[in-house]
């Protein structure tokens, strides 16, 4: 059943993935770089030497860079927000100041 989503993704890619804003373009470009780095992108740039400064032009290097230098801290920051929220929630339950369906309201 989960594989049905692949068809819907293709349909959405054809009809709805339109480059209308800068943010959308950034998201699309990042997705394409990561996608290529995880699949056949290696074939496209395998003629470029794997060592030296030229190696920075390989798709897998771009993909690693996007993931390790930009995506990683962004996701880490989101994680920090989530973690602080969970900690605050735990503290509220401990101190008995949490309000909600489970706690009396």
């Amino acid at each position: 059943m989960f594989s049905l989503i692949a068809f819907f993704i293709l349909s959405a890619a054809y009809r709805a993935f339109r480059i209308r804003s800068i943010e959308g373009s950034i998201l699309m470009a990042s997705a394409l770089i990561v996608l290529l780095g995880l699949s056949f992108g290696v074939i496209i740039t395998q003629w470029i030497p794997a060592t030296g400064l030229a190696a920075n032009l390989r798709i897998e290097t771009w993909s690693s860079w996007v993931l390790g230098v930009v995506s990683l801290p962004a996701l880490r920051a989101i994680d920090f927000g989530v973690g602080l929220g969970a900690l605050a929630m735990g503290l509220r339950i401990w101190l008995g100041i949490e309000r909600g369906a489970l706690f009396g309201e």
Partner: protein, 252 residues
Amino acid sequence: MNRQDRIFGIVGLALAVPLAIVGYIVFQKPGSTAFNAFLGGIATLALYSLLYRENPIYRLFEHVYLGLAAGYVSMMAITSVVRPKWYEPVFEKGQWLWLWALPLALLAYFVFSKRHGWLSRIPLVILAGFAAGQAFQAFANLYFPQIRDSFRPVWPTTWRLDNPNPSPDSLSISGALNNILFVVTLISVLAYFLFSFEHKKPVVRSTAQLGRWLIMIGFGAIFGSTIMTRFALLVDRMSFLLVEWLHLRGPT
């Protein structure tokens, strides 16, 4: 349900039941999974019929799948959890003190009662209390190393553009630039996400705006990965149908 769907459903069932019986007679052999593969292929095609249009066959197999999953989980919960961890200690090993767990667990079913629904909150808040108690250890173990790793050097120690053998003591110019971008991204995304203070001052506002753009890159990476997962599942289903079910190709 309109007439066309009703006919679709009746014809589909009329075909599916004899097909399953014939499949059982032909494929079922001790130690063989051929019948499982046969049923799996029928179910896969039935679920894929949704791609043509919404139909009762898809609905039937969807409900069968959900029912099977629920039944399997219930069976496992009883045989792997309740029986070895509660029933046997209480009734076979004489550890009667664990008997209190049964009424406590049964209180959860009061959620179906309008008058006594409040009783169902008791086991839930006990579990919430366990989770809250563990939250501090969880936070410390999960995030303290993250915070430590976020402090990165931004001044190069070796004046090379690229370092083929990076080590903790040598940081090239490109490494330093990467670390600067890392720290800037972390701070700006944090500024965007922390809503406890207002984004009034221009510095905070522009940092949050930069964070928003940089988050797009992170989300793009997640999006690309999501596409990969979904298509990998599709490739697996196609491989199952064409290779394991129809045997159109031998094993590699």
